[in-house]
Symmetry: C2
Subunit: 327 residues, 2 copies
């Protein structure tokens, strides 16, 4: 048994994390079992939603209250940044009107000891609910229809955690980032492989590009010649990564264009690929706020900037900034 | 047609590469078709051999004369450093007395225009043969029985290249480093998977360790905590690599021991894994001489040293220095 004390201790460790409340609605079972949260990126009418945007604001170590069927049923810890992912196959017919692509946030869930009903404790809870983007209606204690992932205060998080008497059991292993990306890519690969309009050569060229190899890499080496940040020219140290990820490209042109490629040494390629680094329009490297400043100094990356103009990559960099970069 | 002129131009480019002569003997067909050279690491009696040690002295861009059946039959360019690899399955029964593990050197071969017999030009060639470790006996122009890869002078290389009238055709694609390593690892994986004495749990632990994941990584993070060079502590930036490569480990103990693991940021993990960097007993990072000094400065790696004592890894580091590091 894992007591409520452990959760309080996490909070008291002094980390500057956030607290969240998710209204699962129909997908509690799938999200709980799979160790994640999933949301579309926007509303069906393409409007932005604070509740969906919050998926990308969550960080490792943040706490999440899981609310479904009028009860707090689990408490989770975010284990990784959100990543772009296909709507889980497990959802079946649920949310058919949602886009096929959204944000997936890995979370390690543990069941609560007592499934507490917030509506039964409204006098305690109502004053602690956020004024804007609240997960519950303060009048009747029912879930706010539009809410998905809502930010809540530490006080509300602790109050509900105490009412639930903490969590029990080992919890569900969180969704693995690489497994999710891999599955997404495999789906793209299979779609291409079963596309009878593609010749063997085109297919091979596309597959090579996926791994940053072949013609894609050769053209990028010919045009950019060196790591975009360090200026390293030794090809053994240069990775040819996609700016707009291969799995998210709309067509072969985007997958093969050297304008959608960037040469980086492995550490920077790793950061860029995971959205932990991007470039401003001024060529200055920007790092995710989730980094400890000391680590950037250790990597000698504070004040890093591109060693050559990246303006020819700007169209794809704009996508990277808005859709891949983890602010 | 690719003329002799191109080869002379490579030489005249002023690079400080070396020139080699290989006596293929029985394995010409396999090595020519596969785009490589393969040798055991030592003589059958376990004595060192200069001809085998030369496999690890060859560098990208070096030239190689291919000699078999008394003739120079091809000229190649080394495309990558030698790597440890299983004896090619293509060899079949050839060299049954050789060890199962040796050096594989990727080479891009092109056929010569005229297959020149060195023995027919002994008056030109004999004075140019090396005094020690010669590929040919200067008396009769026959292959030296013990020779495999011999270093020759630029003069001898150019003289024989001219007699052969240069090369013709597009050449054979060289063996791919990653494909070779992958094949080697797959063989290990299959051997483990078919080992009925292993439980499911042990097998999974071993497979996780191969990818620097799971228990292996967790224990290494717990003991070493930071990148051995940069001191970076963010686990998202730390790779858990094997010092003695997973595929070369003798048993599960070596594969799972945190003493055989090293935490490095991706660029350094990449260099260390490929043998392009190692550590001296004094903790100073050593880089392969194949690097351009300017690139090491760009990476801010000149004078890099371990940020903490590596003495607990010394047994495995000794293996890395002698068997993995590309001097």
């Amino acid at each position: 048994m894992d007591s409520w004390l452990a959760i309080v201790q996490i909070v008291q460790r002094g980390r500057m994390g956030r607290f969240w409340w998710v209204n699962h609605k129909q997908t509690f079972t799938q999200e709980h079992k799979g160790g994640y949260l999933w949301s579309p990126k926007r509303e069906v009418n393409n409007a932005r939603s604070q509740f969906y945007d919050n998926m990308r604001r969550a960080r490792r170590g943040d706490g999440v209250l899981s609310y479904a069927d009028g009860r707090i049923r689990a408490i989770g810890e975010v284990t990784d940044e959100a990543l772009e992912a296909a709507k889980p196959a497990d959802f079946g017919n649920i949310g058919e009107y949602w886009a096929h692509t959204g944000w997936l946030l890995p979370v390690s869930w543990r069941d609560v000891v007592n499934e507490v009903k917030p509506s039964a404790h409204l006098s305690v809870i109502a004053p602690l609910l956020p004024k804007k983007y609240s997960p519950l209606r303060s009048k009747n204690g029912r879930g706010n229809q539009k809410a998905y992932l809502a930010e809540i205060s530490e006080d509300l998080y602790l109050a509900l955690g105490a009412l639930a008497s903490g969590t029990i059991g080992d919890g569900v292993p969180p969704a693995d980032r690489f497994a999710v990306i891999d599955e997404y890519e495999q789906a793209q690969v299979q779609a291409l492989q079963s596309d009878l309009t593609l010749s063997e050569t085109v297919l091979r060229t596309l597959m090579d590009a996926r791994l940053g190899q072949g013609e894609f890499r050769a053209r990028l080496l010919a045009s950019d010649k060196a790591c975009a940040v360090t200026g390293v020219r030794d090809a053994r140290l240069l990775r040819a990564g996609h700016i707009k990820p291969w799995r998210l490209c709309q067509n072969a042109g985007e997958r093969l264009s050297e304008l959608n490629g960037i040469l980086l040494v492995p550490t920077l390629d790793h950061l860029f690929d995971r959205g932990l680094m991007t470039f401003g329009q001024d060529g200055l490297a920007k790092f995710s706020s989730s980094f400890n400043a000391a680590d950037l100094v250790s990597l000698k990356l504070n004040h890093a900037r591109s060693g050559y103009s990246l303006s020819h990559h700007e169209e794809f960099l704009e996508f990277h900034r808005s859709e891949v970069f983890v602010v």
